[in-house]
């Protein structure tokens, strides 16, 4: 029904006349008859705006919104200040293309430059790109970036988010690159002795990826890992939850060569999985190997400060098959979202989010343990932890679901990965613990 075409039939006719054709469809006369659609498209008729919205609202109603969410595993519900959505809704940001014309895109270029700076500050790195698709694909780009003619093998800890590991494996398989998984110990952290042994035998080790906090919420020992990796002459990459970096030692402080992660916690809604944003930052010496857009500062001919897309000699539109990556579109509006979020919260606000999340998670752990579950996280954790129980995980998930609670994620028959953030309240913790307790005692949920 709607088609967003401004021109009337009369105007279209005038245009046809100027071109020298009778009707618009004549412009397709050059198409071979065989490949032209002979009938109408097999689609429903166009609908009014009111009907479209109503249809989509019906779909939205078929999704269950959990008022209480104790699930993370790579996507987190945090509070999003109203200013964040207000800024990113502006048409000048939302409807612009990649800023190829700097003179009319200073607003976008500057916002990306500010994003890069904030990411560098959080990660302790020297240079950040303008964003990648999500944390998992950013990690894949990061490990691939470390490979060269002499160093080819990618090492990834088993404690890295399995979805991130799978995407790394997919990128590596496509390129014919070898990926070795470094085993995890019983305490759910990387077996660093095993890492040491593996790297000692491999002259072709390119890099090692460690996640901090790891998939199970555990704090790894990056300082030890860093020594092992660098002694072997490989690159050390850390994957991080950006919120945690407000209170935990940064990859830069550990001596990592690059930092990556899922930027969704920085003001982006859960959104059924996307769009999210992958951040990737590195030390100076890796700057020219980074994939994706990078904005740099310069001056115009009058000496005014100006921003441009820079180091484009790395990129596909210049280098084609020799480019460092094929990345063209990124997640610019999500980078803007992350910037506004970080600016709004500030370093203190982000530390507050981190500390509250950690507090809530520990209170949740205590309550679940009191309810009869076993904490099998294995040691210090951030805002996620693992439980084991005699009641099957799926059963607990079901019981919580009925009460409007999204429980921890089942990660095995009897294990669950729980998460809490600053949005969770004592009342919610009490409620979920109550449900679990009932199940553990064999009562009906």
């Amino acid at each position: 029904m709607g088609d967003y075409i401004v021109n009337t039939a009369r105007e279209q006719q005038q245009m046809c006349q100027a071109i020298g054709v009778e009707k618009p469809s004549d412009l397709f006369n050059g198409l071979p008859e065989d490949v032209r659609l002979s009938g109408p498209l097999d689609l429903p008729a166009g609908k009014s705006e009111a009907e479209v919205l109503s249809l989509i609202e019906d779909m939205a109603d078929k999704n269950q919104i959990f008022r209480t969410c104790f699930r993370g595993a790579g996507a987190y519900r945090h509070y999003i200040p109203a200013i964040v959505r207000n800024v990113t809704a502006k048409d000048e940001f939302k409807t612009a293309y990649t800023p190829y014309q700097p003179e009319m895109s200073q607003g976008i270029l500057q916002s990306i430059f500010e994003y890069q700076t904030m990411i560098c500050e959080m990660t302790g790195m020297d240079v950040s790109n303008a964003s990648l698709y999500d944390g998992a694909s950013a990690a894949a780009e990061a490990v691939m970036m470390c490979r060269d003619r002499k160093r080819k093998t990618i090492y990834v800890s088993e404690s890295v988010n399995p979805r991130m590991r799978e995407v790394i494996m997919t990128y590596a398989t496509a390129a014919g690159a070898k990926v070795e998984t470094v085993a995890m110990g019983k305490d759910n952290t990387t077996d660093l002795e095993s890492l040491s042994a593996l790297l000692a035998e491999d002259k072709e080790a390119a890099c090692f990826l460690l996640q901090q906090p790891n998939y199970f919420g555990r704090l790894e020992e990056p300082a030890v890992a860093e020594k092992i990796v660098h002694e072997a002459g490989a690159k050390f990459i850390m994957a991080c939850d950006p919120i945690s970096l407000a209170v935990l030692k940064s990859p830069g402080a550990y001596g990592a060569d690059a930092a990556v992660g899922e930027g969704q916690p920085l003001g982006l809604p859960l959104g059924a999985g996307g769009p999210y944003i992958g951040f990737l930052a590195a030390k100076q010496d890796m700057m020219r190997k980074l994939p994706g857009r990078i904005v740099g500062e310069t001056t115009d001919h009058d000496g005014n400060r100006a921003y441009v897309l820079t180091l484009q000699a790395r990129e596909q539109h210049i280098r084609r098959e020799k480019a460092s990556s094929n990345v063209c579109s990124n997640e610019a509006l999500c980078a803007l979202t992350a910037s506004v979020y970080m600016a709004a919260m500030g370093a203190d606000g982000m530390a507050q989010v981190a500390n509250m999340s950690v507090s809530a998670a520990h209170a949740l752990r205590d309550a679940l343990v009191a309810a009869g579950m076993e904490d099998v996280t294995g040691g210090e954790f951030f805002n996620e932890f693992v439980t084991e129980s005699k009641v099957p995980a799926k059963e607990i998930e079901q019981a919580c679901m009925k009460e409007g609670i999204l429980s921890g994620l089942p990660v095995g028959d009897d294990r669950m990965l729980w998460c809490a953030t600053e949005v969770n309240t004592p009342a919610e913790v009490e409620r979920v613990a109550g449900i679990v307790k009932k199940l553990m005692e064999g009562g009906a949920a």
């Binding site: 245009m15 502006k90 115009d300 679901m401």
Partner: protein
């Protein structure tokens, strides 16, 4: 313009959260951050002002004409935004049990069905987050197909010289060698050279049709047949699908796998560079290799299943769901009549703009064109010294976005115009008049154009220095 780091001041902040209701927990010292990240210290008021000022120095589709070739900068409908802000989608965790995300599954299943009708393919994955990501995914399907058959000798991907830069870059990421095939004098694939290029080592061909010159390759069926005969598969780069949607289908042209750019053809906003969504569609025989999980429709509802021989995953979850939702709103709105009408008007607008300019600029490939056309400033440059870049910068002073310039690479001083179907005749008339004025100015006062733009927030930036001495972050602690 001040940077956000230069605004505000010590202690400026806003509070968004209540007090911590739980006991504090601290970590062992070795894990703790010692240096406080130097994020901006600003109040919400200062943030609102900062970004409102930045927005004044940005230009989107809603600001005016944006004929950026190959980017399909069409209007971004507002109902799409409203749909994408529904809490029933924004608050859904990607790892919720399937029965609590039936609406998400229905969204994917519904748009899949519609996209299959438009493309003539059999299956879709929504996991890729952008066009180039879709290329990378589609090529992996081709790779998995050959590997699965034990056909390891297929190491080459054929790419025409007019292709988008992402095509060869994506093929390289899959470990392929690139065979470039030059275009013929009509701008299409040179059939004789293609026949020479294919062989037992051909994994596949990547093609945009209409191509980046805005030309629909009349030999398309012969081209895909040649590749198939050699044992290769055919990949359709859907960047230019806007020209032919509802008119002709890649699936009927002989393509086996393709991507679409929902942020081009299906009206979702570009966001200053992203997020996009690059769903990949394929024929039935490639289904078992698709990444991620596929929505399965059963009597009791939707569920998700992983294809048997999946290549893995290219993003963590199911895709850029909120972008997919916008595209669904768009297809629902246009429907079976609106989709081909959009294509027709895109082609009509491009041709109208072409005839308005063809006597003041070179148009190396004769029309009619499809949704875009490539003009060249070659003659103007030879006669006046004014280059495509100068004309583009002159357009900025006329308050419109310039076209894509210096691409495709096979045309000197290329200027690639794609007005899209949502521009009015009046705005194209204005643009044509302005560009004609600039071309005239080239002969009268070339210096003025060399110095353009004159009315933008900045003059031409020094890009050479930016690349030689990169300053890629603000040094927050500079003053200390």
């Amino acid at each position: 313009m001040k940077l956000i780091f230069e605004r505000g001041g010590e202690g400026h902040r806003s509070d968004f959260l209540p007090e911590n209701a739980f006991p504090a927990v601290s970590f062992e010292e070795r894990f703790q951050r010692e240096d406080k990240p130097a994020l901006p210290e600003v109040n919400e008021v200062e943030i609102a002002q900062h970004y409102t000022q930045l927005a004044k120095q940005a230009f989107g589709v809603s600001n005016g004409m944006y004929p950026l070739g190959s980017c399909t900068m069409k209007y971004n409908p507002k109902v799409n935004e409203e749909a994408a802000s529904l809490k029933g989608f924004t608050e859904i965790h990607p790892l919720q049990p399937a029965k609590t995300m039936q609406g998400v599954a229905e969204m994917y299943a519904t748009l899949e069905k519609y996209l299959l009708a438009i493309t003539g393919m059999d299956h879709v994955t929504f996991q890729p987050a952008a066009g180039a990501h879709g290329e990378f995914t589609g090529l992996q399907l081709i790779q998995a197909y050959h590997r699965d058959r034990g056909d390891e000798k297929r190491t080459k991907i054929i790419v025409p010289d007019s292709a988008h830069g992402t095509n060869p870059a994506s093929a390289t990421m899959c470990g392929y060698q690139i065979v470039n095939v030059p275009s013929n004098e009509k701008g299409g694939v040179d059939i004789a050279l293609l026949k020479e290029a294919v062989g037992e080592d051909t994994a596949g061909l990547m093609l945009t049709n209409p191509n980046t010159l805005g030309i629909f390759d009349e030999n398309i069926e012969e081209i895909t047949a040649i590749v198939h005969e050699a044992g290769g598969l055919c990949y359709y780069d859907g960047a230019n699908l806007n020209a032919v949607m509802g008119i002709a289908r890649p699936g009927d042209m002989g393509f086996d796998v393709m991507h679409m750019n929902l942020h081009k053809t299906f009206s979702t906003p570009h966001g200053g560079g992203g997020p996009g969504s690059g769903p990949v569609a394929c024929k039935d025989f490639l289904k078992e290799f698709l990444p991620g999980r596929q929505v399965v429709c059963e009597e009791k509802g939707y569920s998700f299943a992983r294809p048997e021989k999946t290549i893995g995953s290219v993003t963590a979850f199911d895709g850029n769901a909120l972008v997919v939702l916008r595209a669904l709103a768009y297809v629902l709105t246009l429907g079976k009549e609106g989709i081909p009408q959009a294509a027709e008007n895109a082609v009509l607008n491009a041709n109208y703009m072409r005839v308005g300019l063809q006597d003041v600029m070179d148009v190396p490939y004769e029309g009619p064109c499809m949704h875009e056309f490539v003009a060249s400033a070659k003659t103007i440059k030879k006669e006046t010294g004014v280059a495509a870049l100068d004309i583009a910068k002159g357009m900025i002073d006329c308050d419109m976005h310039p076209p894509t310039i210096y691409f495709p690479l096979i045309v000197d001083e290329a200027m690639m115009f794609e007005p899209t179907e949502t521009e009015s005749k009046a705005s194209i008339d204005r643009a044509v008049e302005a560009i004609r004025g600039i071309c005239k100015k080239a002969y009268e006062d070339p210096e003025e154009l060399h110095g353009a733009p004159h009315h933008a927030p900045i003059g031409r930036p020094d890009e050479v220095t930016a690349a030689r001495h990169p300053v890629v972050r603000f040094e927050v602690k500079e003053e200390e």
